[in-house]
Each structure stands twice: as structure tokens, then as C-alpha cells.
Subunit: 140 residues, 2 copies
DNA sequence: GTGTGGAATGTTATGTCATAACATTTGAGA
DNA sequence: TCTCAAATGTTATGACATAACATTCCACAC
């Protein structure tokens, strides 16, 4: 249940391009969507994007949304200066507007850790994703 | 946060074939793996499998593992006779042996529901998946 | 400054997961 | 026996992801 963190060094050109695109986006982007948006910046092949994404996820700057096969820039309370140090987080994904809210419920994490401990299961990552409608889209 | 349940009627031939394969399997199967294993039973195209899976998931007999893009037969405490009535469940997925343990932590669900309520988010499904090593594979 | 090795990059090809579109068959109930 | 909704069969295509290999970049030892 660790999500071990590496320090995040300076980003390379491709990593910076991909991270920039994700930071500007208002909703998750697929690797291929990112690629399309970076053609003018010289990116040509999916692997260039996937490799950058791998590193960004490793650095904790980007999250992969498993139920969407897409990626979002990390949006923490932003306390930690640069090498964001965080554990398990959860996501609420609106299926109407595509918006994603990242949140951390420490009690949820503790409960899951408790289950894992009693079962002898050693988790190295945890996926928590709610699918539904955000407040705005519910009332609309 | 409901995972609304339909009653599960008798299964059609394709549904029964797919469900049977998943029930016998000891680990999650991808749709294409299921297809390969059912060629001799007359299945030929991915859609035949995906359509059966859609219904089985709808009936609550099968779960989709989002972080694996694969499917497992539901393995509940098995209380309810046939039309299994269950809410949100969680999965622990062993990356060594491929085994999946399905469990329900009511406190986890309540906490997530609590978050959703205060945020006005209306969840219709929830994904909780732990990735790591099961007890057997840790000691081995 | 030059050499060297690890990391990142570029490129082609391919593998894996999933659905669109349309024709046909099946079966419960009017 | 008609009819309509559901399920099925089939072909084609779209969407997500990685294998394999050649090349470039750059910090650091010499």
C-alpha cells in the first residue's frame, strides 16, 4: 500500500510537453489524444507519449485512471514543494462533463490497509475510482 | 454508489458458455482469452463474448477488473440464492499468481459514500482494486 | 577535452482490447 | 400465426499499448 515515490528530477523535453498538455486540460486525456495535440511540437509516435507518461506517473506528477484508460495531472492540496509525496488517492469521475476530482480519504486507505494486513496481502498500488455525475451535472 | 441490480434470468447459450469458462478459471480472463477457449463451442467473434460479458456484469454474476481489462466470476459469500444482490466490492489482485480475492469492506464504502454526499457527487459505480502480492506469493 | 555508459529518444511494426454497423435468427406473447 | 424485442452472427474498424532495435544526449570519470 505504498506507492513509493521517487524524487522528481527536471523534466525532459517530451515529459515537459506531455505534462504541460495534461496540466492545461480540464479533463483526462488519452495517450493518443495527447499525441495528436503534440504533433506540432515534434512528437510522432505513441511510444514517445507513453514513455513520458510512465515517468510522470513514477514521479507522482500524473495519475492514470484505470477505468478510463486515460491520464490526469496530479492535483493535490499541493503542500509539498515539488517532489509531491503522497500515498493512495481516489478519483471521482463525472461521466457528463468529464471532470475529475482527486481526493484522499485517509480512513478509506486505513481500512483497506487493515484488510490487507489481516489477509497477508502486500499491495503496492491501489485504485479507487467513483463513476457518476458531479454536482453541477446532476442539477443541470 | 448503487450498482443497481437486475434480476438475473436464465442465461442464454453464449452467456452460459462464457460464465462457465469464468467460473472454472482460477484467474481473471480477457475477453479474447475466453473467445479462444470457446472456439470449439462455436464462438467466432469478439462481440459474441463482449455481449455475453455485458449481460453477465449487468446481472452481477461477473465483475470487470478495470486495472486488468479482464473479467472474473463473482465470488460472494454466496448468500443470496440466484439474483445475487450486492453493492460495491473490492478486489485484491496478485501480480505473481494472478489470483483475485473479492471482498466487501462496508466501512470503506460508507466513507466513500460520505465523501460523495458532501460533494454532491452521484456515483453509479465504484472501482476498488489493490495490486500487489498475495500471502502465498509473498512468502514463496 | 575525450571517452564512456546509462538514460532518453526516434521509428517501424505489431499486439491487445473494444465497438460500429448491419443482416439474421429466436422465442414469448398477442 | 403474426409480431416485435432480444439475442445472435459476421465483417470491418477503432482505440489502447508495447516489442525491438537504432540513435542521440549528457553527466561524469579519466
Amino acid at each position: 500500500m505504498t506507492d513509493a515515490l521517487e524524487p522528481s528530477p527536471d523534466l525532459t523535453r517530451n515529459q515537459a510537453l506531455v505534462f504541460g498538455r495534461l496540466t492545461e486540460a480540464e479533463a483526462p486525456l488519452s495517450a493518443y489524444t495527447i499525441l495528436d495535440q503534440l504533433r506540432n511540437d515534434g512528437l510522432r509516435a505513441p511510444l514517445q507519449v507513453y514513455r513520458a507518461l510512465d515517468k510522470l506517473v513514477e514521479y507522482g506528477l500524473v495519475h492514470r485512471l484505470e477505468s478510463l484508460n486515460a491520464f490526469v495531472a496530479c492535483n493535490h492540496p499541493a503542500g509539498e514543494n515539488s517532489g509531491a509525496s503522497h500515498g493512495t488517492v481516489a478519483f471521482a469521475i463525472c461521466e457528463e462533463c468529464g471532470g475529475v476530482t482527486e481526493f484522499a480519504e485517509q480512513d478509506v486507505v486505513k481500512r483497506l490497509q487493515g484488510w490487507a494486513r489481516t489477509e497477508g496481502f502486500h499491495a503496492h498500488s491501489t485504485v479507487i475510482e467513483l463513476r457518476g455525475l458531479c454536482e453541477n451535472c446532476t442539477t443541470a
